[in-house]
């Protein structure tokens, strides 16, 4: 076992995912199974200096600086969970700032 309960809790916090206490043990077991499985890459001698693999173009094509937004076929009010006076609303996020 390389990942413990605390580590799973920590990663879940980073990912902002609620994890119930009663599912934690099973998650710990499954994540260990996965991480142990992928850890077999340790056996591969890989050249530390090699360039990372790029599947697509080797340099990015840039866009001209012309205002031309893709139009929205439905306004934000149609898909937003809470939208007032043109603003998306969320619970007061003070709690995030003070901690």
């Amino acid at each position: 076992m390389s990942i413990g309960r605390e580590e799973v809790r920590h990663v879940a916090r980073l990912a902002e995912l609620a994890v119930r206490e009663d599912e934690l043990d099973r998650l710990v077991e499954q994540l260990n199974r996965i991480v142990d499985y992928v850890a077999q890459l340790d056996q591969v001698p890989a050249d530390a200096t090699s360039e990372p693999f790029l599947p697509g173009p080797h340099s990015v094509a840039l866009r001209e600086d012309t205002p031309a937004p893709v139009p929205l076929r439905h306004p934000p009010a149609d898909f937003a969970p809470e939208f007032v006076d043109g603003f998306f609303l969320v619970p007061r996020h003070g709690a995030m700032e003070e901690e």
């Binding site: 920590h10 916090r13 980073l14 902002e16 990372p52 790029l54 697509g56 173009p57 080797h58 340099s59 990015v60 094509a61 840039l62 866009r63 001209e64 600086d65 012309t66 205002p67 031309a68 937004p69 893709v70 139009p71 929205l72 934000p76 809470e82 007032v84 006076d85 043109g86 603003f87 998306f88 609303l89 969320v90 619970p91 007061r92 996020h93 003070g94 995030m96 700032e97 901690e99």
Partner: protein
């Protein structure tokens, strides 16, 4: 015990583009909330970023103006964290392969004379949205018009040694960025924002102390105030035997105090990795050299040139080059035919006052040149010219000559008209006339003043005196 303060600054400046960093939305300031948004900057499922060529160009220009090396290959990376102003849950930034590194800024420190401050790096990134906390009870409102606006983050080495020095650095940095036409650097519109890292150590100690990061610094004055406050706090901590914690602090401009923002270590685990939506940014050396060649003249060079070309004093040249637009205006006025010293006087007087008030030059360089010519040709007095200038600021489309006529400020130098006013004055002041004739020569100024008054300022003072002298002799 003497303490040395060590400060490094991270400055975020908005790059002056018409569209956002990774999408075609407008960058207009002050539009209604969430109107300059599209699938990309709303972080909608399926949307993809495409970088703005102009943002890259401007970023490279800013980097070269700061003496940085612009790298032939840089990489966009995702900086992962959750915040309601960050639509994708990550910010597209640059991490281990930034656009440019290794620059230097030389300037006059208020404490140490001329110093060099290293520029660690300049990288491109996108801005977050705006949060409004006080409009809806219990709610935070999110406006994403600003989300995705192109920014350059400019990180300095920890080479600054006092809050005042940090402030001076910012002033010079801002001047260079404006000169390079990279950014308007308007703090009011949030187009220049500063985070500061500060630590203290015993004088002579080579090791750096634990640093604190101060965020939310929205004016140069507040940077200095916040750093003073934090510097005092850290010294008090250490002198009372405690230790400085690595924290992020928020400056409250109202109370002048700093308070901790976040301390959880995971807040800093940004899990950077190369953004798979964006291949590397590859810039050819030809392209880089083209940008370098197109770089506008920087303040130091321009100051020197103005001094030499127009025989200005060092002081005048410094004031005139403090803002590139001011220097542009000066050169335009001179090329419209105004003598450099006269132009400098105008600029450093009335024009500067208007500029400080309005941020612009409502009177065109050509109009100012015409006005100066009216004074030179004796058509209006210098006093009258100042009134005409004020009027032109209000009504910039009028010609100076027309304004002079409309306000009745054209000087009269016609001998007969002048003689009429002079005769009236002599008749009205027999006592002063006899005292003058008895040798009280300084009364001449009194008579000139009286003539000007009687002519309602229209008499040409240069023409008045000979007429007065002639009549008083009789």
């Amino acid at each position: 015990m003497t303490w040395e303060t060590v400060i490094g600054l991270e400055v975020h400046v908005q790059l002056d583009t018409r569209s956002k960093m990774f999408c075609g939305c407008r960058t207009t300031f002050g539009d209604p909330p969430n109107t300059n948004v599209c699938p990309v900057c709303l972080g909608l499922p399926g949307a993809l970023p495409v970088p703005n060529a102009e943002a890259v160009r401007i970023g490279a220009r800013a980097a070269m103006a700061l003496g940085c090396m612009v790298h032939p290959r840089s990489v966009f990376a995702r900086k992962n964290y959750f915040y309601p102003d960050l639509p994708k849950g990550y910010q597209i930034s640059q991490f281990d392969q930034p656009l440019a590194t290794g620059g230097r800024l030389t300037f006059e420190s208020p404490d140490r004379g001329k110093i060099d401050v290293g520029i660690t790096r300049l990288h491109l990134e996108e801005d977050a949205g705006k949060l409004i906390h006080d409009r809806y009870p219990g709610k935070t409102a999110v406006d994403l018009n600003r989300a995705g606006i192109p920014l350059a983050e400019i990180v300095s080495e920890p080479d600054l040694r006092s809050p005042a020095e940090a402030r001076a650095y910012l002033g010079v940095l801002r001047q260079i960025l404006v000169y390079a036409r990279a950014s308007e650097c308007s703090m009011e519109q949030g187009s220049l924002r500063v985070d500061a890292n500060i630590s203290i150590r015993r004088a002579g100690d080579a090791r750096l102390g634990t640093k604190a990061e101060v965020k939310n610094l929205n004016s140069f004055a507040n940077v200095e105030r916040a750093l003073e406050a934090e510097h005092t706090r850290q010294i008090a901590l250490i002198e009372s035997g405690q230790r400085v914690q690595q924290v992020t602090l928020l400056f409250n401009a109202g109370t002048g105090r700093v308070k901790p923002l976040r301390s959880k270590e995971e807040s800093h685990d940004y899990r950077y990795f190369p953004d798979p939506d964006l291949p590397p940014l590859v810039l050819s050396s030809t392209w880089v050299e083209e940008q370098r060649a197109a770089l506008p003249e920087m303040p130091e060079a321009r100051r020197g040139r103005l001094e030499r070309a127009f025989a200005l004093s060092a002081y005048d040249a410094r004031v005139l080059t403090s803002e590139s637009v001011l220097a542009d205006y000066f050169e335009a006025v001179v090329s419209a035919g105004v003598e450099p010293k006269v132009a400098a006087n105008w600029l450093m007087g009335d024009v500067m006052a208007t500029f400080n008030e309005s941020g612009g030059f409502p009177v065109s360089a050509a109009a100012l040149a015409q006005l100066v010519a009216l004074v030179r040709d004796g058509v209006v007095s210098h006093q009258a010219a100042k009134r005409i200038y004020t009027e032109l600021v209000r009504s910039p489309r009028e010609e100076p000559k027309t304004v002079a006529e409309r306000l009745g400020l054209v000087q009269v130098s016609d001998q007969n008209a002048l003689a009429g006013w002079v005769d009236e004055v002599i008749a009205a002041h027999p006592g002063e006339v006899s005292r003058f004739r008895d040798g009280e020569g300084k009364l001449m100024a009194f008579f000139v003043g009286q003539v000007m008054k009687r002519s309602k300022g229209k008499a040409d003072p240069k023409g008045v005196q000979p007429v007065l002298a002639e009549r008083l002799r009789q």
